[in-house]
Assembly symmetry: C2
Homo-oligomer: 200 residues x 2
DNA sequence: CAAAAATTTTAATCTAGATTAAAATAATGC
DNA sequence: GCATTATTTTAATCTAGATTAAAATTTTTG
């Protein structure tokens, strides 16, 4: 078999595990998925997982870290490529969703932060807050530069992020739907924010 | 102590239990909450819960049934009171959110349907589908009567319901925020759907 | 108030699933 | 191919938490 540097091999397997775990967690929740659920997907034994993560809590934590990283990447890219605040927000959403429903997914929904141990919980909460704040900032910039109609950025952000976070609850890997989602969702989520030339 | 008819007393307690359970489930998930978590909130023993529900699965099931009922009520009321499709959808959202963040809440998020036993799962899925379909129909009516701008009602419905479903993940009972949510959210979720007199 | 019914608790039992240690197997470098 | 390192499995252990039965307590009814 092709020789692969140890670290790479390890990282690949670790990565597969995180994706399998994310699938399970999204579907059945943290406590609802057993390590056997995860390992079975990979043709492994549950005990094998302990070679890659310290324990189950660590597994969720890593999933969340990865989710945060992917979200951050999407936002960075949106920031770079968009001109106006609107475009930046729009592109961020587009990229984030593309990742969630595409090959790099599934991405774990951070819906069980309370299950994490204190230090991890605090870290994820912090990262999560930063992400929300970043999005709100995009919106604020858009309002500033006139590309977004004035609104409560906190609540608007919550609404949009909620929609995005909920996607894995109803999307289960159908390719057609995936295309539909990433084609339509950014527009659906942002269309209320276009400043109107004339509205009574 | 004031004498209360047995059935009423039972129903009251049962109801308190469902609300306490919904709080826990929303926060920590199905498997993540122990019956002790629920009973502790009420000053009871975990064993006492078995007088009201057959088992833990039944408890979630009942929570979901109640959530479905409240959602249905809100939609009915929106249908009755609104004139146009837009108004009906808007009012439904308003009422539903009012319930979720108000005194009748918390309402359980139906995020762990897979944890239900088959028959319950099927029933909840059916009810849930019906609810989505009902909302999509409101949107379709709105498009029909010109109060809503043409759009993909399936995807738009998913987006809006996702926002709503996610609310309990970040709202934790603060009265000020509650007011803000139910004042602003309906507008935030629906503002993209107003037909525009003029848009390039 | 006393009997009957309703509600709750106490004290077990039982099980799934997390975790671990030691053994077995596979991959790699020389 | 051999020695070493990496990976996985087998086979225990251990524990939290669901569930239950019987006893205790509280409420209701006549």
């Amino acid at each position: 078999m092709a020789t692969i540097a140890a670290e790479t091999r390890f990282e690949i397997q670790r990565h597969r595990i995180l994706k399998a775990a994310a699938t399970c967690f999204n579907e059945k929740g943290f406590s609802g998925t057993s390590l056997k659920d995860v390992s079975r997907q990979l043709g492994l034994t549950d005990a094998a997982l302990y070679y890659y993560v310290k324990n189950k809590e660590e597994l969720v934590y890593q999933c969340y870290l990865r989710a945060a990283e992917l979200g951050r990447d999407a936002m960075d890219q949106g920031r770079i490529e968009g001109e106006t605040g609107f475009e930046q927000a729009f592109l961020y959403i587009r990229y984030h969703i593309e990742i969630m429903v595409g090959d790099r997914g599934p991405v774990a929904i951070m819906s069980e932060i309370p299950s994490l141990k204190r230090s991890h919980r605090n870290e994820i909460l912090e990262v999560s807050r930063r992400h929300s704040a970043g999005f709100e900032q995009l919106l604020a910039c858009g309002i500033e530069d006139g590309s977004i109609t004035p609104c409560d950025v906190r609540m608007t952000g919550n609404a949009i992020m909620g929609s995005i976070n909920w996607i894995p609850k109803w999307f289960h890997g159908n390719a057609g739907t995936a295309k539909q989602i990433h084609n339509e969702f950014p527009e659906i989520l942002m269309r209320g924010l276009r400043p109107n030339v004339a509205r009574k």
